[in-house]
Protein backbone atom coordinates (compact mmCIF):
# COMPACT_ATOMS: atom_id res chain seq x y z
CA UNK A 1 0.00 0.00 0.00
CA UNK A 2 1.16 3.53 -0.74
CA UNK A 3 -0.26 7.02 -0.85
CA UNK A 4 -0.51 6.80 -4.63
CA UNK A 5 -3.71 8.03 -6.23
CA UNK A 6 -5.10 6.42 -9.37
CA UNK A 7 -7.45 7.44 -12.11
CA UNK A 8 -10.16 4.80 -12.06
CA UNK A 9 -12.59 6.15 -14.62
CA UNK A 10 -12.38 8.94 -17.14
CA UNK A 11 -14.39 10.31 -20.05
CA UNK A 12 -14.59 13.22 -22.45
CA UNK A 13 -17.58 14.19 -24.54
CA UNK A 14 -17.08 14.83 -28.20
CA UNK A 15 -15.97 18.44 -28.52
CA UNK A 16 -18.07 20.57 -30.86
CA UNK A 17 -21.32 22.49 -30.95
CA UNK A 18 -24.25 21.58 -28.72
CA UNK A 19 -26.89 24.27 -29.28
CA UNK A 20 -29.57 22.15 -27.59
CA UNK A 21 -27.65 21.13 -24.47
CA UNK A 22 -26.53 23.25 -21.51
CA UNK A 23 -23.36 22.97 -19.43
CA UNK A 24 -25.07 20.72 -16.86
CA UNK A 25 -26.16 18.33 -19.64
CA UNK A 26 -22.60 18.06 -20.91
CA UNK A 27 -21.08 17.75 -17.44
CA UNK A 28 -23.66 15.11 -16.48
CA UNK A 29 -22.82 13.06 -19.57
CA UNK A 30 -19.11 13.22 -18.69
CA UNK A 31 -19.58 12.38 -14.99
CA UNK A 32 -22.01 9.50 -15.50
CA UNK A 33 -19.75 8.00 -18.16
CA UNK A 34 -16.59 8.44 -16.06
CA UNK A 35 -18.32 6.70 -13.14
CA UNK A 36 -19.41 3.87 -15.44
CA UNK A 37 -15.91 3.64 -16.90
CA UNK A 38 -14.57 3.20 -13.35
CA UNK A 39 -17.31 0.75 -12.30
CA UNK A 40 -18.48 2.97 -9.43
CA UNK A 41 -21.40 5.29 -8.67
CA UNK A 42 -22.09 8.75 -7.23
CA UNK A 43 -22.74 7.09 -3.85
CA UNK A 44 -19.07 6.03 -3.72
CA UNK A 45 -17.71 9.54 -4.27
CA UNK A 46 -16.31 11.38 -1.26
CA UNK A 47 -15.60 14.70 -2.91
CA UNK A 48 -16.57 16.63 -6.03
CA UNK A 49 -14.52 19.38 -7.69
CA UNK A 50 -16.06 21.09 -10.71
CA UNK A 51 -15.22 23.98 -12.97
CA UNK A 52 -17.00 26.04 -15.62
CA UNK A 53 -14.94 29.16 -16.17
CA UNK A 54 -17.47 31.21 -18.12
CA UNK A 55 -20.42 29.96 -16.07
CA UNK A 56 -21.98 31.91 -13.26
CA UNK A 57 -20.58 29.73 -10.45
CA UNK A 58 -22.07 26.86 -8.50
CA UNK A 59 -21.63 24.33 -11.31
CA UNK A 60 -20.79 21.56 -8.80
CA UNK A 61 -24.13 21.82 -7.01
CA UNK A 62 -26.00 22.22 -10.30
CA UNK A 63 -24.48 18.92 -11.44
CA UNK A 64 -25.31 17.27 -8.11
CA UNK A 65 -28.94 18.35 -8.44
CA UNK A 66 -29.19 16.50 -11.75
CA UNK A 67 -27.26 13.33 -10.98
CA UNK A 68 -26.87 12.82 -7.26
CA UNK A 69 -27.17 15.01 -4.17
CA UNK A 70 -25.18 12.86 -1.76
CA UNK A 71 -24.15 15.64 0.58
CA UNK A 72 -20.41 15.36 -0.07
CA UNK A 73 -18.10 18.39 -0.01
CA UNK A 74 -18.06 20.14 -3.37
CA UNK A 75 -15.53 22.65 -4.63
CA UNK A 76 -16.32 25.12 -7.39
CA UNK A 77 -12.98 25.69 -9.05
CA UNK A 78 -11.90 28.60 -11.23
CA UNK A 79 -8.31 28.92 -12.45
CA UNK A 80 -8.41 30.24 -16.02
CA UNK A 81 -7.43 27.59 -18.60
CA UNK A 82 -5.97 25.48 -15.78
CA UNK A 83 -9.45 25.06 -14.23
CA UNK A 84 -9.86 21.39 -15.18
CA UNK A 85 -6.40 20.45 -13.95
CA UNK A 86 -7.07 22.36 -10.73
CA UNK A 87 -10.35 20.50 -10.20
CA UNK A 88 -8.56 17.19 -10.73
CA UNK A 89 -5.78 18.16 -8.34
CA UNK A 90 -8.40 19.13 -5.74
CA UNK A 91 -9.93 15.65 -5.94
CA UNK A 92 -6.47 14.03 -5.85
CA UNK A 93 -5.42 16.07 -2.79
CA UNK A 94 -8.58 15.09 -0.94
CA UNK A 95 -7.99 11.40 -1.62
CA UNK A 96 -4.30 11.71 -0.78
CA UNK A 97 -5.16 13.36 2.53
CA UNK A 98 -7.28 10.35 3.50
CA UNK A 99 -10.52 12.34 3.68
CA UNK A 100 -12.06 10.32 0.87
CA UNK A 101 -11.47 6.99 -0.90
CA UNK A 102 -12.93 8.19 -4.18
CA UNK A 103 -12.97 11.66 -5.71
CA UNK A 104 -14.66 13.13 -8.77
CA UNK A 105 -13.49 16.02 -10.96
CA UNK A 106 -15.32 17.56 -13.89
CA UNK A 107 -14.77 20.50 -16.20
CA UNK A 108 -17.30 21.83 -18.69
CA UNK A 109 -17.61 24.81 -20.99
CA UNK A 110 -19.86 26.12 -23.73
CA UNK A 111 -17.80 28.34 -26.01
CA UNK A 112 -19.00 27.61 -29.55
CA UNK A 113 -19.18 30.94 -31.34
CA UNK A 114 -17.72 32.86 -28.40
CA UNK A 115 -15.19 34.75 -30.51
CA UNK A 116 -12.17 36.42 -28.96
CA UNK A 117 -11.64 35.94 -25.25
CA UNK A 118 -9.83 38.38 -23.00
CA UNK A 119 -8.54 41.80 -23.78
CA UNK A 120 -11.90 43.24 -24.70
CA UNK A 121 -11.79 45.39 -21.61
CA UNK A 122 -13.97 48.38 -21.07
CA UNK A 123 -15.58 50.13 -23.95
CA UNK A 124 -13.26 52.59 -25.62
CA UNK A 125 -15.82 55.34 -25.93
CA UNK A 126 -14.28 58.76 -25.92
CA UNK A 127 -15.67 60.03 -22.63
CA UNK A 128 -17.33 63.40 -22.23
CA UNK A 129 -14.54 64.19 -19.76
CA UNK A 130 -11.21 62.40 -19.62
CA UNK A 131 -11.12 60.70 -16.21
CA UNK A 132 -8.20 58.55 -15.09
CA UNK A 133 -9.31 55.19 -13.80
CA UNK A 134 -7.91 51.83 -12.81
CA UNK A 135 -4.46 50.97 -11.54
CA UNK A 136 -2.76 52.63 -14.50
CA UNK A 137 -4.88 55.77 -14.37
CA UNK A 138 -5.92 55.29 -17.98
CA UNK A 139 -8.41 57.72 -19.52
CA UNK A 140 -9.68 55.16 -22.07
CA UNK A 141 -9.38 51.43 -22.72
CA UNK A 142 -5.70 50.52 -23.10
CA UNK A 143 -6.26 47.64 -25.55
CA UNK A 144 -4.78 48.60 -28.91
CA UNK A 145 -3.33 51.79 -27.45
CA UNK A 146 -0.81 50.36 -25.00
CA UNK A 147 -0.11 47.21 -26.97
CA UNK A 148 -2.33 44.22 -26.41
CA UNK A 149 -3.39 42.05 -23.53
CA UNK A 150 -5.72 39.96 -25.70
CA UNK A 151 -4.96 36.25 -25.87
CA UNK A 152 -3.91 35.95 -29.54
CA UNK A 153 -1.53 38.91 -29.38
CA UNK A 154 -0.14 37.95 -25.99
CA UNK A 155 0.70 34.41 -27.08
CA UNK A 156 1.98 35.67 -30.42
CA UNK A 157 4.45 37.84 -28.51
CA UNK A 158 5.41 34.90 -26.29
CA UNK A 159 6.40 32.91 -29.38
CA UNK A 160 8.18 35.84 -31.02
CA UNK A 161 10.08 36.50 -27.78
CA UNK A 162 11.38 32.91 -27.94
CA UNK A 163 12.67 33.41 -31.47
CA UNK A 164 14.33 36.68 -30.43
CA UNK A 165 15.93 35.18 -27.32
CA UNK A 166 17.49 32.34 -29.28
CA UNK A 167 18.18 34.26 -32.48
CA UNK A 168 15.92 32.22 -34.73
CA UNK A 169 14.25 33.61 -37.83
CA UNK A 170 12.14 30.53 -38.46
CA UNK A 171 8.78 32.31 -38.52
CA UNK A 172 7.30 29.39 -40.47
CA UNK A 173 7.79 26.99 -37.59
CA UNK A 174 4.54 28.07 -35.94
CA UNK A 175 2.41 27.30 -39.00
CA UNK A 176 4.14 23.93 -39.32
CA UNK A 177 3.30 23.09 -35.70
CA UNK A 178 -0.32 23.85 -36.52
CA UNK A 179 -0.11 21.64 -39.61
CA UNK A 180 1.01 18.78 -37.33
CA UNK A 181 -1.85 19.20 -34.88
CA UNK A 182 -4.50 19.50 -37.57
CA UNK A 183 -3.05 16.36 -39.14
CA UNK A 184 -3.15 14.51 -35.81
CA UNK A 185 -6.82 15.34 -35.23
CA UNK A 186 -7.87 13.43 -38.35
CA UNK A 187 -7.51 10.28 -36.20
CA UNK A 188 -9.51 11.66 -33.26
CA UNK A 189 -13.28 11.21 -33.66
CA UNK A 190 -13.90 13.34 -30.55
CA UNK A 191 -12.07 16.39 -31.91
CA UNK A 192 -14.09 19.47 -32.86
CA UNK A 193 -12.21 19.69 -36.18
CA UNK A 194 -10.86 16.60 -37.93
CA UNK A 195 -9.76 18.04 -41.25
CA UNK A 196 -6.09 18.07 -42.22
CA UNK A 197 -4.84 21.49 -43.32
CA UNK A 198 -1.90 22.16 -45.64
CA UNK A 199 0.81 24.60 -44.70
CA UNK A 200 -0.45 27.00 -47.38
CA UNK A 201 -4.02 26.78 -46.13
CA UNK A 202 -2.86 27.58 -42.61
CA UNK A 203 -0.60 30.46 -43.63
CA UNK A 204 -3.17 32.00 -45.96
CA UNK A 205 -6.09 31.81 -43.55
CA UNK A 206 -7.32 34.92 -41.71
CA UNK A 207 -4.51 36.57 -39.76
CA UNK A 208 -5.51 37.09 -36.12
CA UNK A 209 -2.28 38.32 -34.52
CA UNK A 210 0.92 37.79 -36.47
CA UNK A 211 2.23 35.11 -36.74
CA UNK A 212 -0.94 33.29 -35.61
CA UNK A 213 -3.61 32.82 -38.26
CA UNK A 214 -7.04 31.46 -37.32
CA UNK A 215 -6.20 27.71 -37.52
CA UNK A 216 -3.17 28.41 -35.30
CA UNK A 217 -5.50 29.59 -32.51
CA UNK A 218 -7.34 27.28 -30.12
CA UNK A 219 -10.78 26.40 -31.36
CA UNK A 220 -13.68 27.64 -29.24
CA UNK A 221 -16.18 24.80 -28.79
CA UNK A 222 -18.44 23.06 -26.28
CA UNK A 223 -17.43 20.03 -24.26
CA UNK A 224 -16.91 18.36 -20.92
CA UNK A 225 -14.53 15.88 -19.34
CA UNK A 226 -14.63 14.08 -15.99
CA UNK A 227 -12.38 11.79 -13.98
CA UNK A 228 -12.83 9.50 -10.97
CA UNK A 229 -9.80 9.06 -8.72
CA UNK A 230 -9.23 6.42 -6.07
CA UNK A 231 -6.75 5.75 -3.28
CA UNK A 232 -4.20 2.97 -3.64
CA UNK A 233 -5.69 1.08 -0.70
CA UNK A 234 -9.21 1.21 -2.07
CA UNK A 235 -8.09 0.25 -5.58
CA UNK A 236 -6.58 -2.95 -4.20
CA UNK A 237 -10.07 -4.00 -3.00
CA UNK A 238 -11.55 -3.60 -6.49
CA UNK A 239 -11.66 -6.10 -9.36
CA UNK A 240 -8.56 -7.10 -11.28
CA UNK A 241 -10.03 -5.48 -14.39
CA UNK A 242 -10.47 -2.18 -12.55
CA UNK A 243 -6.90 -2.41 -11.25
CA UNK A 244 -5.56 -3.26 -14.70
CA UNK A 245 -7.22 -0.25 -16.34
CA UNK A 246 -6.39 2.16 -13.52
CA UNK A 247 -3.80 4.80 -14.38
CA UNK A 248 -1.33 5.90 -11.74
CA UNK A 249 -1.04 9.63 -11.06
CA UNK A 250 2.73 9.77 -10.63
CA UNK A 251 2.73 13.54 -10.19
CA UNK A 252 0.05 16.19 -9.83
CA UNK A 253 1.60 19.65 -9.74
CA UNK A 254 0.22 23.17 -9.74
CA UNK A 255 2.38 26.30 -9.90
CA UNK A 256 1.90 30.04 -10.37
CA UNK A 257 4.24 32.54 -12.00
CA UNK A 258 7.03 33.77 -9.73
CA UNK A 259 7.99 37.44 -10.05
CA UNK A 260 10.56 38.26 -12.74
CA UNK A 261 11.39 41.44 -14.60
CA UNK A 262 8.83 41.98 -17.41
CA UNK A 263 6.34 39.40 -16.13
CA UNK A 264 3.70 42.06 -15.48
CA UNK A 265 4.28 43.54 -18.93
CA UNK A 266 4.14 40.30 -20.93
CA UNK A 267 2.93 37.25 -18.99
CA UNK A 268 5.77 34.79 -18.51
CA UNK A 269 4.37 31.31 -19.21
CA UNK A 270 7.84 29.81 -19.24
CA UNK A 271 9.18 29.82 -15.70
CA UNK A 272 6.08 28.44 -14.01
CA UNK A 273 5.88 25.64 -16.58
CA UNK A 274 9.56 24.82 -16.14
CA UNK A 275 9.12 24.88 -12.35
CA UNK A 276 6.10 22.58 -12.53
CA UNK A 277 7.92 20.22 -14.89
CA UNK A 278 10.94 19.97 -12.61
CA UNK A 279 8.74 19.13 -9.62
CA UNK A 280 6.68 16.66 -11.67
CA UNK A 281 9.70 14.78 -13.03
CA UNK A 282 11.23 14.58 -9.57
CA UNK A 283 8.04 13.33 -7.92
CA UNK A 284 7.39 10.80 -10.66
CA UNK A 285 11.00 9.67 -10.72
CA UNK A 286 11.12 9.92 -14.48
CA UNK A 287 12.71 12.26 -17.00
CA UNK A 288 11.38 13.87 -20.17
CA UNK A 289 13.15 11.18 -22.22
CA UNK A 290 10.87 8.56 -20.63
CA UNK A 291 7.66 10.14 -21.94
CA UNK A 292 5.82 8.15 -24.59
CA UNK A 293 3.45 11.01 -25.33
CA UNK A 294 2.70 14.56 -24.22
CA UNK A 295 -0.46 16.64 -24.36
CA UNK A 296 0.60 20.25 -23.88
CA UNK A 297 -1.27 23.55 -23.90
CA UNK A 298 -1.16 24.69 -27.52
CA UNK A 299 -3.70 27.47 -27.00
CA UNK A 300 -1.82 29.02 -29.94
CA UNK A 301 0.81 27.49 -32.21
CA UNK A 302 3.30 29.97 -30.75
CA UNK A 303 2.68 28.50 -27.28
CA UNK A 304 3.42 24.92 -28.32
CA UNK A 305 6.94 25.87 -29.42
CA UNK A 306 7.95 27.45 -26.10
CA UNK A 307 6.54 24.56 -24.09
CA UNK A 308 8.82 22.03 -25.84
CA UNK A 309 11.57 23.93 -24.10
CA UNK A 310 9.71 24.60 -20.84
CA UNK A 311 8.86 20.91 -20.39
CA UNK A 312 12.50 20.12 -21.18
CA UNK A 313 11.56 17.90 -24.10
CA UNK A 314 14.53 19.51 -25.90
CA UNK A 315 17.75 21.30 -25.06
CA UNK A 316 17.31 24.85 -23.79
CA UNK A 317 16.91 27.10 -26.82
CA UNK A 318 16.51 24.10 -29.12
CA UNK A 319 12.73 24.01 -29.63
CA UNK A 320 12.82 24.96 -33.32
CA UNK A 321 15.37 22.25 -34.21
CA UNK A 322 13.50 19.78 -32.00
CA UNK A 323 10.29 20.37 -33.93
CA UNK A 324 12.10 20.31 -37.26
CA UNK A 325 13.56 16.90 -36.40
CA UNK A 326 10.01 15.52 -36.54
CA UNK A 327 10.18 14.50 -32.87
CA UNK A 328 6.73 15.80 -31.97
CA UNK A 329 4.77 14.22 -34.82
CA UNK A 330 2.93 11.04 -33.78
CA UNK A 331 5.63 9.02 -35.54
CA UNK A 332 8.43 10.87 -33.72
CA UNK A 333 10.37 10.22 -30.54
CA UNK A 334 8.14 12.43 -28.34
CA UNK A 335 4.67 12.63 -29.86
CA UNK A 336 3.00 15.89 -28.80
CA UNK A 337 -0.74 16.55 -29.02
CA UNK A 338 -1.71 13.40 -30.89
CA UNK A 339 -5.29 14.37 -29.98
CA UNK A 340 -5.03 17.36 -32.31
CA UNK A 341 -4.40 19.72 -29.42
CA UNK A 342 -6.37 22.83 -28.60
CA UNK A 343 -5.94 24.11 -32.15
CA UNK A 344 -7.92 21.24 -33.67
CA UNK A 345 -9.45 19.06 -30.96
CA UNK A 346 -10.74 22.29 -29.44
CA UNK A 347 -10.55 24.20 -26.17
CA UNK A 348 -13.71 24.24 -24.03
CA UNK A 349 -11.68 25.92 -21.31
CA UNK A 350 -12.55 24.15 -18.06
CA UNK A 351 -12.80 20.76 -19.79
CA UNK A 352 -9.33 21.01 -21.33
CA UNK A 353 -7.33 20.14 -18.20
CA UNK A 354 -9.17 16.83 -17.83
CA UNK A 355 -9.64 16.06 -21.53
CA UNK A 356 -5.86 16.04 -21.98
CA UNK A 357 -5.60 13.50 -19.12
CA UNK A 358 -8.29 11.41 -20.86
CA UNK A 359 -6.19 11.38 -24.03
CA UNK A 360 -3.10 10.17 -22.16
CA UNK A 361 -5.08 7.52 -20.22
CA UNK A 362 -6.64 6.29 -23.44
CA UNK A 363 -3.18 5.51 -24.85
CA UNK A 364 -1.78 4.11 -21.60
CA UNK A 365 -4.74 1.71 -21.45
CA UNK A 366 -4.12 0.70 -25.06
CA UNK A 367 -7.62 1.83 -26.02
CA UNK A 368 -6.84 4.64 -28.47
CA UNK A 369 -7.70 2.69 -31.63
CA UNK A 370 -6.21 4.01 -34.89
CA UNK A 371 -4.29 6.79 -33.15
CA UNK A 372 -2.80 4.53 -30.45
CA UNK A 373 0.83 5.28 -29.60
CA UNK A 374 2.01 1.69 -29.42
CA UNK A 375 3.26 0.46 -26.08
CA UNK A 376 2.73 3.78 -24.30
CA UNK A 377 3.60 3.45 -20.62
CA UNK A 378 4.01 7.01 -19.38
CA UNK A 379 2.60 10.35 -20.48
CA UNK A 380 2.43 13.96 -19.40
CA UNK A 381 -0.48 16.40 -19.57
CA UNK A 382 0.13 20.15 -19.26
CA UNK A 383 -2.10 23.21 -19.12
CA UNK A 384 -1.51 26.91 -18.64
CA UNK A 385 -4.08 29.34 -17.38
CA UNK A 386 -2.99 32.86 -18.20
CA UNK A 387 -2.56 35.04 -15.20
CA UNK A 388 -0.96 32.50 -14.52
CA UNK A 389 -1.39 28.91 -13.34
CA UNK A 390 0.31 25.78 -14.66
CA UNK A 391 -0.97 22.26 -14.07
CA UNK A 392 1.10 19.18 -14.91
CA UNK A 393 0.09 15.57 -14.42
CA UNK A 394 2.42 12.63 -15.07
CA UNK A 395 0.54 9.41 -15.66
CA UNK A 396 1.67 5.77 -15.82
CA UNK A 397 -0.09 2.56 -16.73
CA UNK A 398 -0.59 -0.04 -14.02
CA UNK A 399 1.67 -2.74 -15.40
CA UNK A 400 -0.85 -5.44 -14.43
Amino acid sequence: MSDDVWILGIYMTKFGKYPDRDTVDLAAEAVLAALKDGGVSMKDMGVLAAGCLMGGGGIAQQIQKQIGQTGIPAYNVSNACATGATALKTAIMTVKSGEADFGLAVGVEKLAGAGLLGGAGKSAKAGSTWTPQGRYGEVMDTEGRVGTSGMPGTFAQIGMEYLHTYGSTSFDVFARISEKNHSHSTLNPLAAYTKAMSLDEIKNDIMIAYPNTRPMCSANCDGAAAAVVVSDAKLKTLSLEQQRRAIKVSASVLTTDPYEEACQVLPNVNTLTRNAAKIAYERAGIGPEDLDLVELHDCFATAELVHYDNLMLCEEGGAVEFFESGATWRTGTTPVNVSGGLESKGHPIAATGIANIWEICHHLRGEAGPRQIEGAKVGLAHVIGLGSACGIHVLERSGL
Binding site: G119, W130, G137, E138, T142, E161
Partner: protein, 130 residues
Amino acid sequence: MSNLIPFVDYLVLGDHPHLVANECTACGARFFDRRNACAGCSGTEFHKVDVATEGEITSFTVVTFAAPGVPVPFVSAIVDCAGTSVRSNIIHVEPTPDDVSLGMKVALATYSLGLDENGVEAIGFGFQPA
Protein backbone atom coordinates in the same frame (compact mmCIF):
# COMPACT_ATOMS: atom_id res chain seq x y z
CA MET B 1 -0.15 72.37 -19.97
CA SER B 2 -3.35 72.37 -17.97
CA ASN B 3 -5.41 71.36 -20.98
CA LEU B 4 -3.39 68.19 -21.59
CA ILE B 5 -3.86 64.88 -19.78
CA PRO B 6 -1.62 61.81 -20.13
CA PHE B 7 -3.34 58.67 -21.42
CA VAL B 8 -1.96 56.74 -18.43
CA ASP B 9 -0.64 58.19 -15.20
CA TYR B 10 2.84 56.72 -15.73
CA LEU B 11 3.33 58.96 -18.78
CA VAL B 12 4.91 62.30 -17.92
CA LEU B 13 4.28 65.07 -20.48
CA GLY B 14 6.29 68.23 -20.98
CA ASP B 15 9.39 69.10 -22.98
CA HIS B 16 10.82 65.61 -22.59
CA PRO B 17 7.96 63.11 -22.39
CA HIS B 18 8.90 59.91 -20.61
CA LEU B 19 7.53 57.06 -18.53
CA VAL B 20 7.91 56.74 -14.78
CA ALA B 21 7.87 53.52 -12.79
CA ASN B 22 7.28 52.72 -9.14
CA GLU B 23 10.57 51.18 -8.07
CA CYS B 24 10.71 49.00 -4.99
CA THR B 25 13.20 50.55 -2.61
CA ALA B 26 14.21 47.16 -1.24
CA CYS B 27 14.76 45.07 -4.39
CA GLY B 28 14.59 47.46 -7.34
CA ALA B 29 11.65 45.79 -9.09
CA ARG B 30 9.77 48.25 -11.28
CA PHE B 31 6.01 48.50 -11.80
CA PHE B 32 3.79 50.83 -13.80
CA ASP B 33 0.60 50.37 -11.79
CA ARG B 34 -0.57 51.58 -8.39
CA ARG B 35 0.97 49.19 -5.86
CA ASN B 36 -0.04 47.60 -2.59
CA ALA B 37 3.37 46.00 -2.19
CA CYS B 38 6.19 44.56 -4.27
CA ALA B 39 5.48 41.34 -6.18
CA GLY B 40 9.16 40.44 -5.97
CA CYS B 41 9.90 40.91 -2.25
CA SER B 42 6.65 42.16 -0.66
CA GLY B 43 8.36 45.42 0.31
CA THR B 44 6.03 48.38 0.72
CA GLU B 45 8.33 51.34 0.02
CA PHE B 46 8.51 52.67 -3.52
CA HIS B 47 9.98 55.68 -5.24
CA LYS B 48 9.42 57.10 -8.71
CA VAL B 49 12.10 56.50 -11.35
CA ASP B 50 12.32 57.74 -14.92
CA VAL B 51 12.41 55.00 -17.54
CA ALA B 52 14.78 55.30 -20.51
CA THR B 53 13.01 56.67 -23.58
CA GLU B 54 15.02 54.56 -26.04
CA GLY B 55 14.99 50.81 -26.29
CA GLU B 56 14.93 47.69 -28.38
CA ILE B 57 11.99 45.54 -29.49
CA THR B 58 12.26 42.10 -27.87
CA SER B 59 8.93 40.84 -29.12
CA PHE B 60 6.05 42.08 -31.24
CA THR B 61 2.85 41.09 -32.97
CA VAL B 62 0.55 42.78 -35.44
CA VAL B 63 -2.98 42.50 -34.12
CA THR B 64 -5.37 42.39 -37.07
CA PHE B 65 -8.46 40.98 -35.39
CA ALA B 66 -9.78 42.30 -32.09
CA ALA B 67 -12.90 43.04 -30.08
CA PRO B 68 -15.24 45.78 -31.35
CA GLY B 69 -13.95 49.24 -30.51
CA VAL B 70 -10.30 48.26 -30.64
CA PRO B 71 -8.60 50.04 -33.56
CA VAL B 72 -6.91 47.43 -35.80
CA PRO B 73 -4.44 46.77 -37.22
CA PHE B 74 -1.85 47.85 -34.66
CA VAL B 75 1.62 46.73 -33.68
CA SER B 76 1.99 45.64 -30.06
CA ALA B 77 5.51 45.18 -28.79
CA ILE B 78 7.63 44.64 -25.73
CA VAL B 79 10.41 47.21 -25.62
CA ASP B 80 13.48 46.73 -23.44
CA CYS B 81 14.29 50.23 -22.20
CA ALA B 82 17.72 49.81 -20.60
CA GLY B 83 16.55 46.85 -18.52
CA THR B 84 12.95 47.92 -17.91
CA SER B 85 10.41 46.19 -20.14
CA VAL B 86 7.55 48.29 -21.47
CA ARG B 87 4.43 47.21 -23.36
CA SER B 88 3.55 49.63 -26.11
CA ASN B 89 2.26 50.16 -29.59
CA ILE B 90 4.87 50.75 -32.26
CA ILE B 91 3.74 53.91 -34.05
CA HIS B 92 4.67 55.74 -37.21
CA VAL B 93 5.28 52.47 -39.07
CA GLU B 94 3.11 50.48 -41.45
CA PRO B 95 1.44 47.85 -39.23
CA THR B 96 2.89 44.85 -41.07
CA PRO B 97 5.53 42.29 -40.08
CA ASP B 98 7.73 43.67 -42.87
CA ASP B 99 8.05 47.07 -41.24
CA VAL B 100 8.86 45.96 -37.69
CA SER B 101 11.60 43.60 -36.61
CA LEU B 102 12.94 41.87 -33.53
CA GLY B 103 15.86 43.86 -32.15
CA MET B 104 14.71 47.09 -33.84
CA LYS B 105 15.83 50.28 -32.03
CA VAL B 106 12.92 52.50 -31.05
CA ALA B 107 12.27 55.70 -29.12
CA LEU B 108 9.29 57.02 -27.18
CA ALA B 109 6.95 59.40 -28.98
CA THR B 110 3.60 60.94 -28.07
CA TYR B 111 0.45 61.59 -30.06
CA SER B 112 -3.01 63.07 -29.56
CA LEU B 113 -6.02 60.92 -28.68
CA GLY B 114 -8.47 63.81 -29.01
CA LEU B 115 -10.29 66.39 -26.92
CA ASP B 116 -12.98 65.96 -24.31
CA GLU B 117 -15.93 68.34 -23.93
CA ASN B 118 -13.85 70.73 -21.79
CA GLY B 119 -11.22 70.98 -24.49
CA VAL B 120 -8.74 68.80 -22.61
CA GLU B 121 -6.50 66.83 -24.96
CA ALA B 122 -5.49 63.27 -24.05
CA ILE B 123 -1.90 62.41 -25.02
CA GLY B 124 -0.87 58.82 -25.59
CA PHE B 125 2.55 57.27 -26.07
CA GLY B 126 4.10 54.76 -28.39
CA PHE B 127 7.54 53.86 -29.64
CA GLN B 128 8.71 54.73 -33.14
CA PRO B 129 11.80 53.67 -35.09
CA ALA B 130 14.82 55.48 -33.64
